[in-house]
Symmetry: C2
Subunit: 504 residues, 2 copies
Amino acid sequence: MASTGNVELQAGLPDLSHHLSQEARDRLPNTMKVFLRTVEDASQLVSLANGDPHPTLYPISQIDYHIPDLTSLDSLSSWLDHSGATRKLSAFNGTGECALDLAVAMQYSTGLGLPVLRQRFSEINELLHSPRPCTQNVILTLGNADGMTKLYRLLGSPGDTFLVEEYSFCGLTNAPLAQGVKWQPIKIDHMGLIPEEMEGILSSWDEGSMGRRPHVLYCIPTGQNPTGATLPVERRRAIYAIAQKYDVIILEDDPYYFLQYKQETSVVSTESPGQVSPDVISRFVKGTVPSFLSLDVDGRVIRCDSVSKTFAPNMRLGWITCNQLFCRKLEILTDNSTQHPHGLGQSLMAEVLAPTGWGVDGYIRWIWAMRNEYGRRRNIFFDIFQREVGRHGYAAATLPTAGMFFWVKVNIEKHPKYHVNDVSPKYGPKTNAKGLLDELFGLCVARGVLVMPGALFAIQTPTGSSENHILDRPYFRMTFVGVDETIEKGVTLFGKALLEFFSA
Amino acid sequence: MASTGNVELQAGLPDLSHHLSQEARDRLPNTMKVFLRTVEDASQLVSLANGDPHPTLYPISQIDYHIPDLTSLDSLSSWLDHSGATRKLSAFNGTGECALDLAVAMQYSTGLGLPVLRQRFSEINELLHSPRPCTQNVILTLGNADGMTKLYRLLGSPGDTFLVEEYSFCGLTNAPLAQGVKWQPIKIDHMGLIPEEMEGILSSWDEGSMGRRPHVLYCIPTGQNPTGATLPVERRRAIYAIAQKYDVIILEDDPYYFLQYKQETSVVSTESPGQVSPDVISRFVKGTVPSFLSLDVDGRVIRCDSVSKTFAPNMRLGWITCNQLFCRKLEILTDNSTQHPHGLGQSLMAEVLAPTGWGVDGYIRWIWAMRNEYGRRRNIFFDIFQREVGRHGYAAATLPTAGMFFWVKVNIEKHPKYHVNDVSPKYGPKTNAKGLLDELFGLCVARGVLVMPGALFAIQTPTGSSENHILDRPYFRMTFVGVDETIEKGVTLFGKALLEFFSA
């Protein structure tokens, strides 16, 4: 093993420490924790050291979590209408058997998170992404927003430019701007980021005029937000090879990994969580596109997973998988900011994922059934969209194979007031589309439906200009995860507003 | 109301926006959230906007929290030995009455935290700190470490120097160093920070040679960590006046506020949580030193509270109280980093603090009883310390009136090997104490007891030197919050090690 400072590099992996930000290099571990590690057999001593309230003083003796009983639940819909069977998982504070005692869960711990839960997430990693050099290096997060913004601090120095799809999740592309990181958008198509475009940017980058060549790619590979695109495995391989060639770290933000659907809309699986066969995990893996993590041989992929979309958004719990050096630096950052994730979330997920709960395979079975339900809603959305919108020819959408969103393109050039202002050789026509799209959005609201203008997700070039005319492009993001009635009503209202708009 | 950018200043309060860091000024709110606010009556529309999983799909229908039954609990000790009566508070996902429905708690929300819990914490503020201009401006945190490190980002620009007690909690003094903030230590005595020393530093600050004059004071006013000191109200008033004179923001880190004890050790209250009289809150307030928040007329105090010491450490839940501008900027930072705190903790505390749970007064009654218990342990520690350590004359400790720690001074000059190397006019003698103290620490470990060397908490001067000889000063931090047996054994072992050390 080579060494960088006090952190060991993993055997056989390249040294990627030059990617760390100045701040990450300067950040010192918590003095007390470092000191206590130097004391041999500290746990054997009578300790007057730390001001940790004793667990007997926590005013909580037990927590019961009521979750679906997978073995008797005959269908997901019985859960949705509150008639489904439940089972109770209980966690105790020193007074009973459970996967993670509350006396441990509710005490101070380490920035990495508690071993019992990290172990479960490692298992999930190895089952779904194959064992790879880094699949066992897991640090808990408060969900992907927390994880990703910590990664910006880990890797981003003022003046850096990061790569990103030209439309991306604005909640996370907004975050690093204030710390002095800029974005370089990469062109996309209906399959997501175009590898040749990425290579073109990197190969022609002029550090003299443009600053440090991008050393980080932020990417949502599956069911991308907002475009719904899922990168095919060939593109992932190509992107990974480019990342190796130009020494780029890939931030794989993959909250929709678990929500991947079949291409065809005709066949809808109705398997209930209880009926799914025992080989659920291998079937699940077969139905997914391999992750960047599963292609990673260098330790240059940093993957963010979350239970937000599979359990509940405000669980605020997830995990990062990455090389040991980055993992250690993230632990130090966590000790110096948020601290370890909350004990309640760790308790709940530890009980759910334990063999005494659902177990990891039960969790995947639940996701399987939930994904079928989302797939059904996607199909409903698509049918209604074709009927109410598509057939008029004023807008179109491709079928997403993952995630939660349709990316709807309005054929704005058919509008009577549309005109081209001028044409740039590099970016094509500059039009009056933005104003028209604002009008259309206003009309939608007036008619009672809220959709998300694509411009909200547009990445401006590093100079902050919109020379790429991205704000003129006619897209709306629409979700299909609502209940059937919302989809039916919402898409119908959008169709009506669109007809009215084009007949103006 | 005056205005700074898009945030309103509170009427009658000075504009303190110049304290914001460059990063905080540059940080933009989440584009989507800003956009949605511009849409009138958005909540009335059929929404295809956000990818929020529907609450009926959360695999959790109910959570039961088993907490002490305050009305029938005859003593805290019955809770400690697991024989105390419990009651069950249940939260439901759309299927029952509770203070905070899980359908709301577990969904995405705002960086501020959910209104129902913020309202409870505001109530606590107003009951304990009197209504003041800012007591209603509450934003939830993940505990004081999260809160304080967010405040460093809010106020600290590279090159800034912040003021701090010369010994302080290293977990939090370490954190801002990597972002380029330095510390200027202020001399303390057994009552904590000395106001005249603070004024001396500010009045003689030379911006030409030392950079920007400190505009922030980080302070643990009650049961200070590590020294155990509690600032008397006169000092708090003096410090606040100096902060006004020199335009300093006070970061009031007050996790031990709820753990304040009587000066005398002879009388120990044995009131059980169920026996405490109905006027508990006014009695509680009478027994505490007024907070900086309760003295604040300008909005220059930013107070961090937490349930870590009163409920359980890994609740990772607390709140910041401050002026509206800072509160809004913290919300933007939260939206751009951790996101709102986890739903489970908000659910638990909302049920506990609701009238259907303990209510706010029940929470204070619980704290009252717990504080009595900690007070009892403090007295036990002090008795054993006097018997096993104090009477030999090699070490002494003053009685803390708050918090969790004794600050033990070793009379190192009595050691046969002690000698003075040289004397600086400003800082006094430079000695070989550090080496001797390391020896003593090693001896303690060898004899089976772990104590915390004071040097771990020492603040070096901004130049990073130890010209103030602080590492030579002979202190150990010892906690009294363990169970009786730990205190008895630990202090006895320390006494033996000390005797052995001095007879070497």
